[in-house]
Point group: C2
Chain length 268, copies 2
């Protein structure tokens, strides 16, 4: 299993789970594989209370976080992984099969990142809106005649894979980070920087949105669709923290100039 | 996933499951990962009936086999794999960790074998008696503070691993079987023979037991312990079908001689 210092870099996020037995089952498999950080988004209070007070409920249910939105739940994470069956939808993000997720997660940890694994509600899974906060989607390879897994079993399978196959020692990037011979070369060190956290991308996306409005970029009816596209694009680009700050600074400047020019009603 | 022809070479065996929800969960994860052959040993009828009649129960529950004993359930299998937590017992068989089970299973299939994956009752798992029918035990690597997994989740994790990581193309033995260059050499071809099926080992064990009795090998009070040891030993030796027939023939001859000599009461 992963050393506990690394397993604490994973957040398991349940979006609007309904069945208390499933919440308990996810928590139990987290305890089995040594994961400790659970966040529940938009919990349905009676079922959430029932799950927490169940006999033999793992301790981590008591210390679970509750948030109102998925954005808040994953704000500190640098790699947000959505789960679910993709049979009936065309994903807007890269999709990886669970058996190859290990090296990707290992690389993210080696860069100093923090990972969220997000599970949707039992009935319909993560919505398109939920998925727009995800950098990538993971698919459990299942039989096409019965693709949809029980939530507790899907969580067990994903956490097993991560607990047993995320070996940061195998990743090239950690070697880069550790090997003094590479330090003269800036390129690999730059690559090894942590990605920007989801919450910081949301701040940037909000600013880009303000700029679009201030610049009269598109009609009001397009705003929601633009926000969705920007959110996806920022996650696809895998900006690191320095990229995010640089672009944020530029857009702040742009917004300030746009507003000054429209307030004074004079050209720049 | 495995091609369906190979997945049909796996038997999932539940020994005395009690909770209908768990039976349903195991069946569902079998359907998810494309396994079809379920055997239930010593089923508790009311719960078994409830599991089969549940709404949305996978079809494979309808075609599941019922047997009275584990010996009968695994009789046709050449590699019997027991599952469970080994925290409080000292196993009498080799133990492998689930992430390395794939190549072992692949090798067995490449030899023309048939595999059983055996799960014990929810409360206490497989007994020492049950385990004596197993060639090896598989352990799911779990956190020592919460090692015991839910039955449905343990099955999902094991079946996911087998469905995604048994690739017979990777095994040396299949290459041996396919490569004409090796055919001149008898040794690898011998190795590539299928192991003896569990039921054939039981026939041999029964005969050895008769010989022991006929030869007055040990006091009657030791008979049960001897049977247990012989069962384990025959499984540890990984006899192939030809070995089993040869030894069976020898012991038949021995038994015949022993009985003739004791009937006639004359020395041989």
């Amino acid at each position: 299993l992963l050393p506990s210092t690394q397993r604490d870099l994973f957040d398991v996020v349940l979006v609007a789970p309904r069945n208390p037995l499933n919440i308990g089952a996810v928590a139990r498999s987290m305890a089995n594989f040594g994961f400790a950080r659970l966040t529940v988004v938009a919990a349905y209070e009676p079922h959430w209370r029932e799950a927490r007070s169940a006999i033999g409920a793992p301790e981590l249910l008591q210390s679970a976080r509750e948030t109102a939105s998925l954005a808040e739940a994953v704000a500190r994470c640098t790699l947000v992984i959505g789960t679910g069956t993709l049979t009936h939808r065309k994903p807007e993000q890269p999709v990886v099969s669970l058996p190859v997720l290990g090296p990707i997660a290992a690389q993210e940890l080696a860069r100093g990142g923090r990972i969220a694994l997000v599970f949707g509600p039992e009935k319909h899974g993560l919505t398109r809106e939920d998925l727009s906060w995800c950098n990538l989607l993971v698919e459990i390879p299942t039989d096409s005649r019965q693709p949809s897994m029980n939530l507790g079993q899907a969580a067990a399978v994903c956490l097993y894979e991560l607990a047993t196959r995320v070996t940061t020692r195998d990743t090239a990037l950690e070697h880069v980070g550790n090997a003094p011979a590479f330090e003269q070369n800036a390129a690999p060190r730059f690559e090894a920087q942590a990605s920007a956290a989801s919450g910081d991308l949301d701040i940037l996306a909000g600013l880009v949105d303000e700029v679009m409005v201030a610049a009269n970029y598109s009609p009001r009816t397009m705003q929601e669709a633009n926000r969705h596209s920007i959110r996806l694009m920022l996650r696809r680009l895998r900006l690191n923290a320095a990229d995010q700050r640089r672009i944020l600074g530029l857009f702040r400047r742009i917004l300030w100039r746009l507003r000054r020019s429209s307030n004074r009603n004079v050209p720049n």
